[in-house]
């Protein structure tokens, strides 16, 4: 079974970051504060379903495209 990623979250649903599936992208995400172990919550889905806005660790809100979100694997 495919792993659950941030792109599978429904609006308002929460998850805990486990790891990343893409090396280059993981560095960007880490630098922007998406750390393994942090809680993420899907806050908004832009019109046409993409990009999405997630809240990271209750601290701040990050918007990213679905293909970027699918790199973040959840526990």
């Amino acid at each position: 079974m495919a792993e659950r990623t941030v792109s599978h979250l429904k609006k308002g649903e929460k998850g805990i970051i486990k790891s990343f599936s893409d090396k280059v992208m993981s560095l960007k995400l880490l630098e922007m504060g998406c750390l393994p172990g942090s809680e993420v919550r899907l806050d908004f889905i832009a019109p046409f379903g993409d990009p999405i806005c997630i809240n990271v660790g209750g601290n701040y809100s990050l918007s990213l495209r679905l293909n970027e979100a699918s790199v973040i694997i959840l526990e």
Binding site: M32, G58, S63
Partner: protein
């Protein structure tokens, strides 16, 4: 020894309040320019650092570096940060760095701080946004942080100016430190990296391990490292089998491991931390699939209402004022060449410049409010999917919207788009957004053919036509991007990833400052061009090859002997212009523009506006005031209304001609500065030339179609 010119650099995450702090420290003593060697906009300013008792205060220069999440650049403008910090010989290399951190998200903000710390440059940590942190139920202990990080930590509020004295004390303390033994590094190099580090340190005369690693990872971005040495570094990487990606991931994870306990000790959370209430409420509307677009459209409409309807009052006053001044000067000065040069050349030119001021000020003010409030980031989100369909990026919205003010700064803002492909496409189509220089052309032509009526009791019909022209430009930009994307090969995937700042009230002082700066740079930079062209044009229109002008004048006077003096004067003026250098030029290109419905007089204005579009109206003013009756001074609009078509006898400016001109100016790439900035940003003539060619063809064909269909 205290050096004469102390440089301090300001670094920090985007949205951490870096530029607010910059403004708080330097006030109005700032200037914008470029970093040497690169075309990244540089903001620097000075402030005086007060000395302790008995000491004199010192002037220090504060350099604002682009906002970044780490020292590893993700977009073009971020490369400048390390280009300076890794090069002690750089003129902007700082004696100390102020790292601005958003206290409400300390963990992430400290990542950049630890990287800077490891470079060995003395640093001060400025804790900003403590009010946001406390509204999120977070309390930050600055003393605890300072103890653990081994650097001065200062609590500030950049918006209110709180803590500036303490920050200055801390800065003075670190630059006056006599024993500059390096602080312990957060990143501990691994055994496997040692050999490579030692070789790089030896090769480049470095004494900092982490800096040596930066030479390894980032040398392609270092403008100060010659190509031969870059090749050598690549050889060393090969020799030691250094895996850059593995190193980067490992480094960042190691840093966070060290930061985590520090943050846990210094930050106490009580209750649930959550984004500010208003930000969540507003996002629910502004990011809504339906209401999000409705609000965006409303915002755009207000912007256009402002630059067309509201700006028209001061503009009418300026227009009338210019006409009155010219009339007054004409009467005061003795008649002759000097009088003509001053009134028809110089004053008409100045009038053409200052008339733009209200619109430019309003436009830049509104764009700055949208950016400051945090709304622009939301617009990028709701537009990203749409933009991607055309090969662009949600971030392209900012250049496209700024393009409505001026394409030159707009093209410079494309540097925040990390994908080269999406950036190039954005650059190629940004000039299609109707810039403020086209506004006066639109304004005058619309005023000629569109009645000044209200639609639905609120919207001004002229304003709606103007909105239509802007939309035409937008549609043209999107379609061109899509067409270009078919021919351009995409090498890497585009990124979007964008932090959503919380909503803030704009800092009005800063908005005012932006307006002032934009007007100033317009008047002094664009103004110079317009002025020079006005004078050249006056000369070209007042003198002709050989005695052609005199002969023609004599002929007309001879033919019209019986007519009243006024009519002879008008005919003479007209025939003189026709036989001047400018007239001959216009005549020469007339066959090419005749199918579009233009005559040789418009041809002159068209050619002159190749330097800058805003020259068009000024040129028209000059041409028609030369050919017109010099006794009474009319506004440009009145002159155009009076102009007769010699073939039909009807008015020259028919709706067909006006709409054809309007469409021509929507599409045409008539701006030297834009060509120059595209050349600079794409490093070559290839793209600006392709751009010039496709836009000229597009403009000509569309104008031709409009004229032929309407007449």
């Amino acid at each position: 020894m205290k050096s004469e010119n102390i440089k301090i650099a300001l670094v920090g995450n985007p949205n951490a309040g870096k530029s607010t702090l910059f403004n708080a420290l330097t006030g109005l003593r700032q200037k914008t320019g470029n970093f040497p060697g690169v075309t990244v906009e540089k903001k620097s300013g000075t402030f005086s650092l007060k000395g302790t008792q008995g000491e004199k205060s010192r002037e220090v220069t504060l350099v604002d570096l682009p906002g970044t999440y780490s020292i590893y650049p993700k977009s073009k403008d971020e490369t400048v940060v390390m280009d300076i910090l890794a090069n002690p010989k750089h003129p902007d290399f700082p004696a100390a760095i102020i790292v601005v951190a958003d206290a409400s998200n300390l963990m992430r903000n400290l990542l950049l701080f630890t990287e800077i710390n490891d470079l060995g440059i003395p640093a001060v940590l400025a804790l900003n946004m403590l009010d946001v942190a406390s509204s999120m139920n977070l309390t930050v202990n600055a003393v605890q942080l300072a103890m653990q990080l081994n650097v001065p930590v200062v609590r500030i509020n950049a918006r209110t100016g709180e803590g500036m004295a303490n920050l200055q004390d801390a800065v003075r303390q670190v630059i006056d430190q006599t024993d500059k033994h390096p602080l312990p590094c957060f990143y501990e190099t691994t055994h496997a990296e040692r050999g490579l580090i030692e070789e790089v340190k030896h090769e480049h005369g470095l004494d900092n391990d982490y800096l040596a690693l930066q030479y390894v990872c980032q040398h392609d971005n270092f403008s100060f490292v010659p190509v031969a040495q870059r090749v050598k570094l690549d050889g060393l990487i090969e020799k030691h089998q250094f895996d850059e990606n593995a190193f980067l991931a490992n480094e960042t994870i190691q840093r966070y491991k060290k930061i985590k306990p520090i943050v846990e000790k210094a930050v106490k959370a009580e209750g649930i931390s959550e984004q500010p209430y208003w930000t969540r409420k507003l996002d629910a509307i502004l990011l809504h699939p339906f209401w999000g677009y409705v609000t965006f459209l409303l915002v755009l409409m207000v912007v256009f209402q402002a630059i067309f309807a509201w700006a028209s009052y001061p503009m009418d006053m300026i227009d009338a004022g210019t006409a009155a001044t010219i009339e007054w000067v004409k009467g005061v000065l003795p008649e002759g060449i000097l009088n003509d040069l001053i009134t028809d050349g110089i004053l008409a030119g100045i009038g053409g410049i200052i008339i733009f001021i209200p619109q430019i000020a309003i436009l830049f003010g509104l764009v700055s409010i949208l950016e400051e409030s945090g709304y622009m980031a939301r617009v990028m989100v709701i537009m990203d999917k749409l933009m991607r369909k055309f090969g662009l990026n949600g971030r392209s919205v900012v250049p496209l919207i700024s393009g409505v003010a001026c394409a030159v700064p707009a093209i410079m803002t494309t540097r925040s788009i990390s994908s080269r492909y999406e950036r190039l496409l954005t650059i190629m189509v940004t000039p299609l957004m109707s810039c403020s220089a086209r506004l006066p052309i639109f304004a005058i032509l619309i005023a000629l053919v569109v009645p000044d009526e209200k639609v639905l009791g609120f919207f001004n019909l002229q304003g709606l036509v103007l909105l239509g022209l802007y939309l035409l430009g937008l549609v043209g930009a999107l379609l061109s991007a899509w067409l270009l994307s078919l021919f351009l090969e995409r090498k890497e995937p585009g990124y979007f990833m964008l932090e959503m700042p919380s909503y803030k009230l704009p800092r009005w002082g800063h908005v005012g400052f932006t307006m002032l700066e934009s007007v100033k740079s317009f008047v002094f930079q664009a103004g110079k061009v317009i002025m020079a062209i006005s004078i050249i044009l006056w000369v070209l229109a007042s003198y002709g090859p050989g005695d052609k002008m005199e002969n023609a004048e004599a002929q007309v006077t001879e033919q019209m002997k019986a007519q009243p003096q006024e009519e002879i004067d008008a005919a003479v003026a007209s025939v003189r212009l026709e036989n001047s250098y400018a007239g001959s030029f216009g005549r020469f290109i007339e066959p090419a523009i005749k199918p579009l419905g233009y005559d040789w007089k418009m041809g002159i204005a068209l050619l002159a506006s190749f330097a800058a579009r805003e020259v068009f109206v000024g040129t028209m003013a000059t041409i028609y005031s030369i050919s017109g009756d010099s006794e009474d001074v009319l506004t440009v609009k009145e002159r155009l209304l009076q102009e007769k078509n010699p073939d039909t006898g009807g008015p020259m400016y028919t709706p067909a001609v006006c709409y054809s001109l309007l469409v021509f100016y929507v599409f045409a790439m008539m701006c030297m500065s834009t060509i120059a900035v595209v050349y600079r940003e794409t490093h070559g003539w290839k793209w600006p030339m392709i751009q010039l060619a496709y836009l000229t063809v597009l403009a000509y064909v569309s104008a031709l179609a409009v004229y032929q269909l309407m007449s």
